[in-house]
């Protein structure tokens, strides 16, 4: 898994200015009408503009601080609009017409949502600071609930419109029931309640603000116990409004809780309401935690109701003054009647709801604080009170919660409570946390088995709770952040961190533990940051870790592995950050720390494919190669490597192993280690019942990549060393025998994931055959690989590029050793492989540039092969491959498996040469023809040359209107082949090709082209180029034949004769003689040059060239050149 690119944040920063301006500008226009030069609030706002602003705001969700420059301005706009709306006289909010209904919404409703989005993005606490705090607004705010119909028309559909919008934009926002509430959208309710809670901070007694009862107060659905006598009217109204929303499933419930909190902790109110509220909560607890009811008779769901009440209760104890909310009697009442009941949770309500448990974590923290002395004011003498111990116990238990948000909350509460304890008590808790790591860990039975010390400490984590480990690691991280672990505990702590860094648990279809490792990075980072070097160096690592390695170095080793190998991008980044901190905070403690940090850098580890190859390679050579072993073994043994569940990951791991093996062999002098690792890789996937198909897939990739990376590095630079290494690998690892245990059904049986096996096998076969080619005695390997394919190990319909590439390579295998053309075995097997493939999945011979088309072309070339076996096999293949192709019908017309065609070479060549009539394959055929033209047995040579000349002589010189093939087409194609072969100095083709051309001149074919478009001059230059500085006699002879032919063509006559004359001084006597004979023939045919004829005849051309110089000059003079 790759991490998100780093530049998102930068982009946000870069482009934020115009976006912010846009929000700012549009907001004013949306709310205010300034047409008459007067600023007037619009009663309704346009939905389109409104959505636009919301969308823009949402885009800042991840980078909320970027909003700060416009925060004050926007808040000013929103709050003043809100207040203006509330102050409008009756009747100003006329009901909207139908048309307006669709394109506009009520301004107040819109303001509610805008403020909500601001709170969501920037945080409610920040936004609240900008809301009016003048108590005169309290009544109008209450009015939003009490006089709704005056503010928003009864028939107004804004709420629906907004709720719809909301559903699109914010996932999970609960939609209130249609008949519910007063037509107020939930955002507006939430925002207004939050505002009310903010206004309740007012230092003035509420009685002074107003003491009128509400005109038409809404009636809460829940049963609210009678309020104590003397509760001020405003308090009653606020409480009433809050109670209307306290059981809501939506966010508005939180607003209601906040209102209750602010109200109850007020100096002028707590006397009336604090006990009253606690009793009310206890009553509801009685009903729903002890009882079995899930909702009351009006359909109020207890789970939300309780959540609202507990939220308020927790808030009251968090923010009330200690002298008020910390009274022992009150605390005891809460603890006994509420908290203990929540532990017991008779009805299971708490167990069923994560939010409730999260609220509980907070409540436990706030109550614990009050049981303990205020922070910084002395410590408890004899440990914390029993209640606190119980609460800590509960929190430890909640670390194992199945919901991560509860674990986060529990871990946070636990750490914060611990911070308030005396140092000794604090380390006790920390020890408890560390000890919990051991629950459900299975160790090997030490008494029965004689295990080596390393294995004795091997932990089996398959039974431990992932949740618990996550919760524990989070807590460890927080504790370390507060320096809450004693130095003596560090070895144990480090062991926990290291184990957590590699924690993974397989489930049927997925792996878990990413969150544990993520938390472990945080813990490692906290440890590095908050402990001094002396502290880190004071202790030695606990077994099983070696004592020779210091704690920081041990951590560094593990962090490098995590940063390079973890499958999850953010964990790699987290580990890289922790490593940076470790190196930077503890100078000179980490081997090659500085270079390590530079190699394993934030952006380098973002892509997995890069992290476990390039980055790992860079790290592997540092610190005396101390990181190499961990990295390569991580890729082999671990769940992070070739045993990964996703195939892409395994392939990447294979690449990493290849790269690290290469470094191990070539740079770090670790050949033996690499061979041992390779053997392990082969052993790892098991056999028979224990066979792990996924691991085998990864293993084969790893072995193949080891071979490929060695070949890439050494093939050109040091082939001798390469052969030596590959031979050693063959001998020491047995990789070349790897397919011995593979059963054919592995490639076909659907349950065994044949497509995966096939893909990996193809890759490894390619690698092995490449390796075998390099260690040339092992042609048998390549042949065996191809036979494997040919013998039908392909599962139904599976082909892939690796297989095709491997086949293609084998088709052009022309290896020769003492036994002769051993490459032909590979060629034959490759052809068989193609046919085998074709029967299952017709070969695509039409897609341009595809490997399958290239294969087809190579086989066509092989139909002109010199070796009978290959040629026949190839022709058989072409015959079968083209059975369904109409244009091929002309060629194989009437041929059956029994035809004479297969045994009579004349027949054979006369038939196959017709392939030349197919333009698309002409060149392929000619290439094959050229490759074998100069070789083969005499009878075959004769048959093929005869067939070719016969065929060509029947062709028109130039294309005619019938569109058929012409002589010029073939000559042109042939010349193209010669050109190509000259460019790569492939004499195997050039020599016979020139001879062939010479032959065509001799048989008069070429002359037919004279007077047409064919450029003989071009052929002349090409011939010159072909034998330039060559000492190949056969090639030179071929060239002389061509010059001979060219001399009979008008346009090239002079240049050819000139060329031939100059060749009279060629260093080779044989050539000089041949040239003199050729020239004689030319001149005598032309006539009128008797003197020159005599000179050519009479001179002994075997003499030394310098003695011949004078004669040649004379001939030049006579011929006038």
């Amino acid at each position: 898994m790759d991490a998100i690119p780093e530049d998102r944040e930068i982009k946000a920063l870069k482009h934020s200015n115009p976006l912010l301006q846009d929000i700012n500008n549009r907001l004013s226009g949306l709310l205010w009408d300034t047409r008459d030069g007067q600023k007037k609030l619009r009663p309704r706002v346009k939905i389109v503009d409104y959505h636009h602003i919301i969308g823009r705001l949402e885009s800042f969700q991840e980078f909320p601080q970027l909003l700060d420059p416009i925060l004050a301005g926007c808040m000013e706009n929103l709050t003043s609009a809100f207040s203006v709306y509330l102050s409008m006289e009756d009747g100003e909010s006329e009901p909207a017409s139908d048309a307006e209904d669709r394109v506009t919404v009520n301004t107040l409703a819109a303001l509610g949502q805008l403020l909500y989005v601001w709170m969501k993005v920037r945080g409610p606490k920040v936004v609240l600071r900008f809301l009016y705090n003048d108590p005169k607004w309290l009544e109008p705010m209450l009015g939003v609930f009490e006089q709704t119909s005056k503010l928003i028309g009864k028939t107004d559909k804004s709420a629906d419109v907004l709720n719809d919008v909301v559903e699109e934009i914010f996932e999970g926002a609960p939609k209130p029931k249609a008949e519910d509430k007063s037509g107020l959208p939930w955002h507006l309710r939430y925002v207004t309640l939050m505002w009310i809670s903010h206004l309740l901070y007012t230092p003035f007694d509420l009685v002074t603000i107003g003491d009128e009862p509400a005109g038409k107060p809404p009636t809460p659905l829940v049963k609210v116990p009678a309020l104590p006598q003397g509760t001020p009217e405003i308090a009653r109204r606020a409480l009433n409004v809050a109670c209307c929303n306290i059981h809501s499933p939506g966010k508005d419930r939180e607003g209601a809780s906040a209102t209750i909190v602010r109200l109850v902790v007020r100096k002028d109110i707590y006397g009336c309401l604090l006990d009253w509220f606690v009793d009310w909560v206890a009553t509801i607890i009685d009903l729903c935690v002890k009882g079995n009811l899930r909702e009351d008779d009006k359909g109020v769901a207890y789970v939300y109701f309780l959540m609202g009440l507990l939220g308020a209760l927790s808030g009251i104890f968090a923010s009330g003054e200690r002298s008020i909310v910390g009274q022992p009697n009150l605390l005891q009442k809460v603890y006994d009647n509420i908290i203990r009941e929540l532990y017991t949770d008779e009805s299971g309500l708490v167990a069923q709801n994560a939010m409730l448990r999260k609220t509980l974590c907070k409540l436990l923290r706030n109550i614990s604080y009050l049981y303990l002395p205020p922070s910084g004011q002395g410590e408890t003498q004899d440990g914390p009170p029993e209640e606190v111990e119980e609460m800590i116990d509960q929190l430890l238990r909640l670390l194992d919660d199945r919901d991560s948000l509860v674990r986060y909350a529990a871990s946070k509460s636990l750490s914060l409570v611990a911070l308030r304890l005396a140092a000794a008590d604090r380390s006790q808790i920390f020890e408890a946390v560390i000890d919990l790591y051991d629950s459900d860990v299975l160790y090997p039975n030490r008494a029965l088995t004689k295990l080596d010390p390393k294995k004795r400490h091997q932990k089996d984590l398959s039974q431990v709770s992932v949740h618990l480990w996550h919760g524990l690691t989070l807590t460890v991280a927080t504790f370390l952040r507060f320096h809450a672990a004693t130095v003596q505990m560090l070895p144990k702590v480090l062991d926990c961190i290291i184990t957590a860094l590699t924690f993974e648990q397989r489930k049927a279809t997925f792996a878990t533990g990413g969150n544990v490792r993520d938390a472990a990075c945080y813990a490692a980072w906290s440890l590095a940051r908050n402990y001094k070097t002396e502290e880190m160096m004071a202790e030695e690592p606990a077994p099983p870790h070696s004592e020779d390695v210091s704690l920081p170095q041990l951590l560094a080793l593990e962090l490098v592995d995590a940063a390079c190998l973890d499958p999850i991008g953010n964990i790699r980044r987290g580990a890289s950050a922790a490593l940076q901190e470790l190196v930077g905070r503890h100078p000179n403690m980490i081997q090659d720390g500085i270079s390590l940090v530079q190699a394993v850098d934030y952006s380098a580890v973002a892509l997995r494919s890069r992290a476990s190859t390039e980055v790992a390679s860079k790290a592997a050579v540092l610190g005396g190669a101390c990181y190499w072993g961990g990295l390569i073994n991580g890729l082999v043994d671990d769940w992070r490597g070739i045993g990964l569940q996703d195939s892409v990951g395994r392939i990447v791991a294979g690449k990493g192993i290849g790269a690290l093996s290469k470094i191990g062999i070539l740079d770090l002098n670790k050949r033996q280690e690499v061979w041992n690792i390779s053997k392990n890789i082969i052993k790892r996937y098991g056999t028979g019942a224990s066979l792990d198909i996924e691991v085998r897939h990864g293993s084969w990739y790893a072995l193949a990549d080891t071979i490929f990376s060695l070949i890439n590095e050494l093939e050109k630079a040091n082939p001798k060393l390469l052969v030596e290494i590959l031979s050693e690998m063959r001998e020491k690892t047995g990789v070349f025998e790897i397919f011995d245990n593979v059963k054919p059904r592995d490639f076909v049986h659907p349950v065994l994931k044949p497509e995966m096996t096939c893909e990996a096998a193809a890759y490894l076969v390619t690698a092995l055959s490449d390796a075998a080619k390099i260690m040339s005695p092992h042609i048998e390997m390549r042949v065996a690989a191809m036979s494997a394919f040919a013998d039908g190990i392909f599962p139904e319909g599976v082909t892939n590029e690796h297989i095709l590439q491997a086949i293609h390579k084998s088709l052009i295998d022309y290896s020769v050793d003492s036994r002769g053309d051993v490459g032909s075995w590979a060629r034959i097997e490759a052809i068989r492989a193609v046919l085998s493939l074709h029967t299952l999945h017709p070969l695509d011979i039409h897609t341009p540039d595809s490997t399958s088309l290239k294969i087809f072309h190579k086989i066509i070339g092989l139909t002109a092969e010199k070796l009978d076996r290959v040629r026949l096999k190839a022709c058989d293949a072409v015959w079968k491959l083209t059975a369904q192709e109409p244009q091929w019908a002309i060629i194989f017309n009437g041929i059956t498996a029994e035809s004479n065609f297969w045994v009579n070479w004349d027949d054979y060549f006369e038939t196959t040469v017709k392939i030349l009539s197919l333009q698309s394959v002409r060149e392929s055929y000619l290439e094959g023809y050229a490759t074998s033209a100069g070789a083969g047995s005499d009878s075959v040579m004769r048959s093929s040359t005869r067939a070719m000349q016969k065929y060509m002589s029947g062709l028109p010189p130039y294309p005619t209107s019938d569109g058929g093939v012409a002589l010029s087409d073939i000559v042109q194609s042939w010349i193209a082949i010669v050109e190509k072969a000259i460019a790569v100095s492939d004499d195997r083709v050039v020599v016979p090709a020139l001879a062939m051309l010479g032959g065509w001149f001799e048989s008069g074919l070429m002359e037919k082209l004279d007077g047409g478009e064919f450029r003989f001059q071009g052929l002349f230059s090409l011939t010159q180029k072909a034998h330039f500085k060559s000492s190949n006699v056969a090639k030179l002879s071929g060239a002389v034949k061509i010059y001979n032919g060219l001399a009979s063509i008008k346009s090239t006559r002079t240049s050819s004769v000139k060329k031939l004359v100059s060749m009279l001084l060629h260093p080779f006597p044989k050539i000089r003689t041949a040239v003199s004979e050729t020239l004689y023939l030319i001149i005598s045919l032309e006539g009128g040059q008797e003197d020159a004829e005599v000179l050519l005849m009479d001179t002994n051309w075997v003499d030394q060239p310098k003695e011949l110089k004078a004669t040649v000059e004379e001939i030049k003079g006579l011929l006038g050149i």
């Binding site: 780093e6 930068i10 700060d68 925060l71 930077g584 905070r585 934030y602 952006s603």
Partner: protein, 181 residues
């Protein structure tokens, strides 16, 4: 994890400050002086060292990066990005002022450092005949910098002159930018 840490950093008012400059400019000595450590035992910094300075309730995590290494690796990591840059100039080193300018301007082009404010310390002000801040401002072409908020202060790592004022500027700037609300 990331969000927890970011929140915690905000709450603890933590900042990441990158301290850079040519070698021998006196970066490590400045850190040591601020932390009241012995300033007479400074040897060239290889790589980098992280130190935390607490100042006015803010935690400044100073990344003191060895002179010749202006490598990208230190500019940010998963948990933190750079909030402020302190560029230390050796005010006695007229020769390399041009180099110093090139380095600085090259650095400011880096995207990873966007949004970080820049404090230039003209160090070694206690040495006679050193350049004035105006000379350095001119030499480093500071007036051309528009991408980053910047200031320049003369200072002395040996006497401690202006070091606290420098921190002050960094913290005040952070208050306005990072910890606004």
């Amino acid at each position: 994890m990331l969000s927890i840490l970011r929140k915690a950093r905000l709450k603890d008012k933590e900042m990441r400050v990158l301290m850079l400059g040519l070698d021998n400019a006196g970066k490590t000595t400045i850190v040591k002086q601020i932390m009241h450590e012995d300033v007479n035992t400074v040897s060239p910094t290889l790589g980098f060292i992280i130190k935390t300075i607490e100042y006015q309730g803010y935690k400044l995590n100073i990344w003191d990066v060895g002179g010749q290494k202006t490598l990208r690796s230190y500019w940010r990591n998963y948990f933190e990005k750079t909030d402020a840059l302190i560029w230390v100039v050796d005010a006695t080193d007229r020769f390399r002022l041009e180099d110093c300018k090139e380095e600085l301007h090259g650095l400011l082009l880096e995207e990873r450092l966007m949004g970080a404010s820049l404090l230039v310390f003209a160090n070694k002000s206690d040495v006679k005949g050193c350049m004035s801040t105006d000379d350095i401002k001119e030499g480093l072409k500071l007036d051309e910098i528009v991408t980053h908020k910047w200031t320049i202060l003369r200072c002395s790592a040996m006497t401690g002159e202006n070091l606290i004022e420098g921190l002050d500027w960094v913290v005040t700037d952070a208050k306005e930018r990072l910890f606004l609300y």
